[in-house]
């Protein structure tokens, strides 16, 4: 038996020299399906993902291939950022964040429980799911005139647009997450003496919580994308309003700054959700 193994090993040695074999073993496989890569390599690649478009942008604008009206240089954008920061950027960020978070929070407050009941009871599903799917495909922007008519032009109208933008998505996604809880956990809870309400509290809610958390993270991102639309409704402050205003005055650098800041804020919220998920649900993969 051992002699066979030796023969095989020697045979392999002859075809590939040892140093080459060692090198092959050490090489990280970047394009192997689902294979992990070193953390450092991951960071470098992520930075490259930002740097390459930035460099391409710098090169495009400095080569004077495109008019600065269409594509301002990174420096112009930076200058615009400093100007804006000197005037009222902080207030704009504050008011926009307030609108997004409020709209999102209201949507979660209604969407999560509704989704849980839709995913748990067929009768609730029959009442709400078809109409939810019907409204879900209506564009939030189309509701602007109605929202202005019904709610007016105050703060609540902007919050309402963001609310309309995400609440229906939260409902469907949470209902699906609840349906994914394996039946055997529910049966086990019953055999341990749980009643219906306890099954909902201790099994369905607890089990779906990490998924619900992820759903909220994704929808927070969508809430930010509805900001500009929301601030079309008679706003006088806010990031989305500033972008629309800059468009009117052909202030392209400011449009860039506004878009970037929304991106950065979204990224910060996303990362916070991810970190919180890891801390709150250590048991979930």
């Amino acid at each position: 038996m051992s002699s066979t193994i030796k023969t095989v090993a020697r045979g392999r040695d002859r075809t590939s020299p040892p140093h080459l074999a060692q090198k092959m073993a050490r090489r990280v496989q970047y394009l192997k399906i689902r294979s992990a890569i070193p953390r450092k390599a991951y960071l470098i690649l992520s930075l490259l993902g930002f740097m390459i478009p930035l460099l391409a942008w710098q090169w495009l604008s400095s080569a004077n291939m495109v008019s600065s009206l269409f594509l301002p240089s990174p420096y112009d954008v930076w200058k615009s950022f400093i100007d804006w920061y000197g005037s009222n950027l902080v207030t704009d960020i504050y008011i926009s964040t307030y609108r997004v978070v409020s709209g999102f929070f209201m949507a979660a407050l209604i969407g999560v429980p509704l989704g849980i009941y839709i995913g748990t009871f067929k009768s609730v599903e029959a009442i709400f799911q078809p109409i939810n799917d019907f409204v879900r495909y209506m564009p939030a922007s189309a509701f602007i005139p109605l929202v202005m008519l019904w709610i007016g032009i105050g703060e609540s109208s902007k919050i309402s647009i963001i609310f309309i933008g995400v609440v229906f998505q939260i409902v469907v996604m949470v209902a699906d997450a609840v349906r994914n809880i394996p039946e055997r956990y529910i049966e086990a809870a019953y055999t341990l003496g749980a009643k219906k309400g306890e099954v909902i509290n201790h099994v369905i809610w607890r089990g779906a919580l990490p998924d619900i958390f992820n759903i909220l993270r994704v929808n927070m991102g969508w809430a930010w994308t509805y900001l500009v639309i929301a601030e079309m409704v008679a706003a006088d402050r806010g990031l989305g309003f500033a972008i629309l205003q800059a468009q009117r005055f052909m202030d392209t650098p400011k449009i860039f700054v506004g878009i970037f800041i929304i991106g950065v804020l979204g990224l910060i919220f996303d990362l916070s959700f991810r970190v919180a998920h890891r801390v709150l649900f250590p048991w979930s993969r």
């Binding site: 055997r184 055999t191 607890r206």
Partner: protein, 277 residues
């Protein structure tokens, strides 16, 4: 009047089909399981042995007949019947200890006094200790091996001292060595408490080794084909598996199961198939 044990009286189960007809999976099952008795259900796959266990657990209700546990008719799942399934049902979001003591936070246990709480905690701790799980108390289920998960499932099912422990192929997914360890562990545990057990398995050796009685179920629809008494007493060890009595009773049961399936190789068809080679 409160007769102890499990009494199954002319129980049948059928499922409605899409075309309006009914598919009968269990027919006229009569079975009495005395307190402290270990009854093993074996039979070809699809004979309805798992369905029968689910009926006793109250997870499904019989179409005909009645099931009583300690004189109380089964109308749904309840704490007087502990259930262990083949696939672990430990809640992944709770630690092992929180899983084992899960039922303590439920309303059914809200009105217990301090001494009962102390007793329950003592029992949970003792079960964890017997199961050799003290060192994984605060681990989450996905950090445990399959064998450890099943130990926790058994401990959780036994915490509230159920009248009967229902097990549905609990060791079916474990490797052979772990299964043997689990066999001795549950034997010792059952001996200590005189637990009443109804145990579904497809492993006849397991059935003979663990059971007082082996019930062979026949198929189409599921019915009780035969019942074998296992004459080994409660003090058993692996050596008995090599005794002639053990081997012969195991072979009898295996032959009986084979007979109930009624599947024979069609020699004619086989000949025809090979003729055209």
């Amino acid at each position: 009047m409160n007769k102890e044990g499990v009494i199954i009286k002319s129980v049948g189960k059928s499922y409605p089909q899409r075309d309006g007809s009914h598919r009968r999976v269990l027919h006229d099952i009569d079975l009495e399981v005395a307190q402290g008795e270990r009854v093993m259900l074996v039979g070809a796959s699809g004979c309805g042995k798992s369905t029968l266990l689910r009926l006793i657990a109250g997870l499904e209700l019989p179409s005909d007949g009645t099931i009583e546990v300690d004189g109380i008719p089964v109308t749904g799942p309840g704490v007087n019947r502990g259930v262990v399934f083949q696939q672990s049902t430990l809640f992944p979001w709770l630690t092992v200890w929180q899983n084992v003591t899960f039922s303590r936070q439920l309303r059914v246990n809200m009105n217990v006094d301090d001494s009962q709480v102390a007793q329950a905690v003592y029992r949970s701790n003792a079960l964890m200790n017997i199961m050799g799980m003290d060192h994984v108390r605060d681990a989450y289920p996905n950090q445990l091996s399959g064998g450890m998960q099943q130990r926790a499932n058994i401990a959780r099912a036994l915490v509230s001292s159920p009248a009967v422990l229902l097990m549905d192929e609990p060791f079916g997914a474990l490797d052979a060595q772990t299964r043997e360890t689990m066999h001795d562990l549950v034997l010792h545990l059952f001996n200590a408490e005189m637990t009443t057990v109804i145990f579904v398995t497809h492993d006849v050796e397991e059935a003979v080794y663990l059971g007082d009685k082996v019930v062979v179920l026949g198929s189409n629809p599921g019915h009780i084909d035969s019942i074998y008494d296992i004459p080994f007493g409660h003090d058993r060890s692996h050596e008995i598996k090599f005794t002639p009595e053990f081997v012969s009773i195991r072979n009898d049961i295996l032959n009986r199961i084979r007979a109930t399936t009624g599947v024979r190789t069609n020699q004619d068809a086989l000949r025809k198939m090979t003729e055209f080679r």
